[in-house]
Subunit: 172 residues, 2 copies
């Protein structure tokens, strides 16, 4: 984010051989940064109000959709774009609440399968309603469907670029 635009220091202009952002790009990027931050803040707060953080919810939600309510730690980390370490810690906390269990992976001695318990399923079902409502209200309702589709397309390109080809709802 260049400080050059609103207070151009003579020295800095000379070295403009790197792709600065144009005014329009700058504006769009700022809107993105602030909007996405605010969105995450409110969705997290709404979930916290019912006792789950957004990060926790994402894990639980992935699990709830997985076959047998079970998924490997590393896949969970990949799909939620969280570090392995973070998933480990979060899983430990969820386990303390009795929402998940750890089981050794049958096929790979190094692996752990995280399994959603009945209590966990109940919790995530409840949270899912809160979350879906929030997404509708704060994101989808704020624009017409075409624009929302564009948003999805745009972010899908970013996702693909950074994370590779798997589609948004890939499971195996």
């Amino acid at each position: 984010m260049s400080e050059i635009q609103s207070a151009p220091p003579a020295a800095a202009i000379a070295e403009a051989d790197v792709p600065w952002l144009s005014d329009d790009e700058q504006r769009a990027w700022r809107a993105y940064l602030r909007g996405s931050r605010a969105l995450e803040v409110i969705l997290d707060a709404e979930l916290q109000a019912v006792g789950v953080s957004l990060a926790e919810y994402e894990l639980l939600s992935m699990l709830s959709e997985a076959p047998c309510l079970t998924m490997r730690m590393s896949k969970l980390a990949d799909q939620t774009v969280q570090s392995r370490s973070r998933v480990t810690h979060t899983a430990t906390r969820l386990q303390r609440r009795g929402w998940v269990e750890r089981h050794p992976a049958p096929d790979d001695g190094r692996g752990i399968q995280l399994h959603l318990t009945d209590d966990g399923l109940a919790a995530v079902r409840f949270a899912a309603r809160v979350h879906a409502t929030g997404v509708q209200e704060h994101l989808i309702r704020q624009m017409d469907p075409a624009l929302f589709r564009s948003l999805g397309d745009a972010m899908d390109k970013v996702r693909t670029h950074l994370l590779g080809e798997q589609p948004a709802n890939y499971n195996p």
Copy 2:
């Protein structure tokens, strides 16, 4: 995020009186979640590599554009969508590095003006190049200009909804 789609538990379907997400919405929302997370991760990592976190960079960058390189703590918090407490802590760390100074606000006895030092300005100028390059590479280059504009528009609507009317580059 409803678990209903890929593993519909009979019980949950009955209580469908809340706005679940449609398949398309779900896909777009997932793309957004993962894409935005991945984007933040990489932009943060690129900045960390030159010694600044994204959160720190945002503060420094705002300061660098402000008149007299100076801004009130609370405005900084508002504009970066961070809590006041967080801004306080971050400012303290930046101060330890000699990048910002605190001065009492002339007009309001409660207020503090954060001022960017010369070292801070140098640091943010350097970081800005890294950041702008990352935004170009990972976001802008990944889509055609029209789509990027749509992205900006979409997030601007979200921002307005959640944060109010101020435009993305409002200063006073």
